[in-house]
Homo-oligomer: 159 residues x 2
């Protein structure tokens, strides 16, 4: 980021009834998963959907209150963790940022193309690293580095 200043306004986020629908769908999904869509969780998702791009936790914290007052950090971090757990949002580790999931399916592997120049990001189908450039070039991307991080349990801990 900030390496060049191409000023490209990408596609923006949701508003109006698109937003309402997305929130309603999320609530459904939440209920089906046996979880509660509480007020802070809904608000966090609303902000991510409105933004339509990755947001830093502290940027959300600043604008969290409906009344314009910032939230306390744990409130927002808890909500974001919840959304990520449910698959409604993803954390992008290399940006320390969070973004609403654009795919419907639950618990899918997440993959992102991230422009280091302008900050644009795109959620894409997961792919093998050696196929990244081919996949990315459909969007004109030139990839410089790919990282794959798979979390789980090792042989010893799984047993």
């Amino acid at each position: 980021m900030a390496e060049c200043e191409h000023d490209h306004d990408g596609p923006e986020g949701l508003s109006g009834h698109h937003l309402s629908h997305a929130l309603h769908d999320a609530e459904d999904r939440c209920v089906r998963a046996g979880e509660r869509m509480t007020q802070p969780r809904r608000r966090a998702l609303e902000l991510l959907l409105e933004a339509g791009k990755p947001m830093k936790a502290y940027d959300l914290i600043e604008i969290f209150g409906e009344d314009g007052r910032p939230a306390k950090p744990p409130t927002v971090y808890r909500a974001l963790d919840f959304l990520a757990k449910l698959g409604l949002a993803h954390r992008i580790e290399s940006l320390n940022a969070y973004v609403a999931c654009e795919m419907g399916e639950r618990n899918h592997a997440a993959a992102f193309l991230i422009c280091d120049c302008c900050g644009a990001t795109e959620e894409v189908e997961p792919f093998a690293p050696e196929k990244v450039q081919a996949a990315a070039s459909k969007s004109g991307y030139i990839i410089e580095a790919v990282t794959v991080e798979a979390h789980g349990r090792c042989g010893a801990c799984a047993s």
Copy 2:
């Protein structure tokens, strides 16, 4: 991590002439790349190689000085950034940690299996996310989440 307490001592890092050789190789590679292997860079790599596992920046900072005194944060972060740029080490974003590269080739896509229980990590060949479980099960790993983050330049910025 810290979810269970299987106490498995994994393979450890380098020492003695294994360490010296690795450092010497790194210096060669550095020179061939037209870069300088300075004292702080060498020291950072030495610590990563000795550890043989991912290390937090501030853990390195604590033990950085040959004389037992800690380093200043920018010293270590600069060295780590350099090592990562050269492909001698990787940053593991989801752990905020750094590890010496176990593969020889330069600028390869990095992929890691990370045990959330004991913290064991393993650098592996990059793979397509849908093949992760198959690949990982060779080591007994059970994968719960995979993320792919590809950095580069978007169509607009590349042009």
